[in-house]
Symmetry: C2
Subunit: 203 residues, 2 copies
């Protein structure tokens, strides 16, 4: 076989086939249970080719979602550093991404999750379980509390996105990011590290 | 004219005409600028008939939105009572409505606002400006701070709805309401009544 130079449409087809198989597999099985091997089988290619094109499952998922950023890198970065300002850094990161040119695409993924069950499931599994919880596990004292604390953080982050970018409630929608960091950061910090005795009391 | 007994389809037509005119008028002008008089004119009926069928503008709006509850009555009730527990009462009210049979309809209005600009605008104007801000004005010391404080409350309430009912993030989605009242109430209370110096510093 003679290899032609320049654009290779065959590769583009393979890439598209993998993305389609991945989308279907994530939709059917969820993020946790979908596998590179299974997706490769569905696309009729070798798993090595999936790794070649997309790296790992996390990056394949981000490609399926057309994600403009990789929260798996950005969120752990934001949570590292002084523990008592982690809440501020987390909301600052969210506002920085959403106010940036990548914000429109991030918002599109989020809007899709609000109206589409499979996107909702993936956003839930991927962002909350895979990233936020894993990263927050490093600054939450009791690992048993991490799932609830992280879910509470998600309420405040998602709600800021809804109020600022979707409902566009003023004066919040036009506020300077650092005003919102000062307003919202301490509330996220409470969810992350402050005592919540009533929440974790045994039933 | 002989008045027939039993169902009067003409009335149903009139009611529908008014609702359609109201929907168009709210969409075009927003909640504040739409008027009973203008809507009646568009529907070709006397304003008195609009009052007869729907009461006031607030109730006409709720009918257009198919709202299962009247937040204009429930929110002020929740905010009355001991000032330092207003945050808890507000999130308890939200959870009570959403967990009730009326919750599905309330969620439908909210989902619609997330994907539809006119519903978003109306939800923003009606719930935040008309109700929450007016009611919160009674427990927020400085009226100049009420708009931002209320918008911040909206972030936490909207985010709880998104995480619990739309994304269904566990363990939050299955948590007992009172667990969430204990977790989230104090954060809403901070937005309502605690000092937020950096937020309101003059630029």
């Amino acid at each position: 076989m003679v290899r032609r130079s320049g654009r290779r449409p065959g590769n583009q087809d393979t890439r598209t086939s993998i993305l389609e198989a991945a989308r279907a597999s994530f939709a059917e099985k969820g993020y946790d249970k979908a596998s590179i091997r299974g997706i490769a089988g569905d696309a009729g290619v070798d798993p090595a080719l999936v790794h070649h094109y997309f790296g790992n499952k996390e990056k394949l998922f981000l490609a399926v979602m057309n994600a403009p950023i990789n929260p798996g890198e950005l969120i752990p970065q934001a949570l590292s550093g002084p523990r008592d300002q982690a809440g501020e850094r987390l909301i600052r990161l969210a506002l920085t991404v959403w106010d940036s040119p990548a914000g429109a695409a991030a918002l599109a993924v989020f809007r899709s999750a609000l109206s589409n069950e499979w996107t909702a499931r993936l956003l839930r599994e991927f962002v909350v379980t895979q990233i936020l919880r894993r990263a927050a596990g490093e600054i939450i004292d009791d690992p048993a509390e991490a799932p609830m604390r992280t879910a509470l953080v998600a309420t405040q982050i998602a709600g800021t996105m809804v109020a600022r970018y979707v409902l566009r409630v003023e004066p919040l929608a036009s506020a300077e990011p650092e005003v919102l960091v000062a307003a919202i950061g301490p509330n996220i910090q409470r969810f992350l590290t402050e005592p919540l005795p009533e929440v974790f009391k045994q039933p």
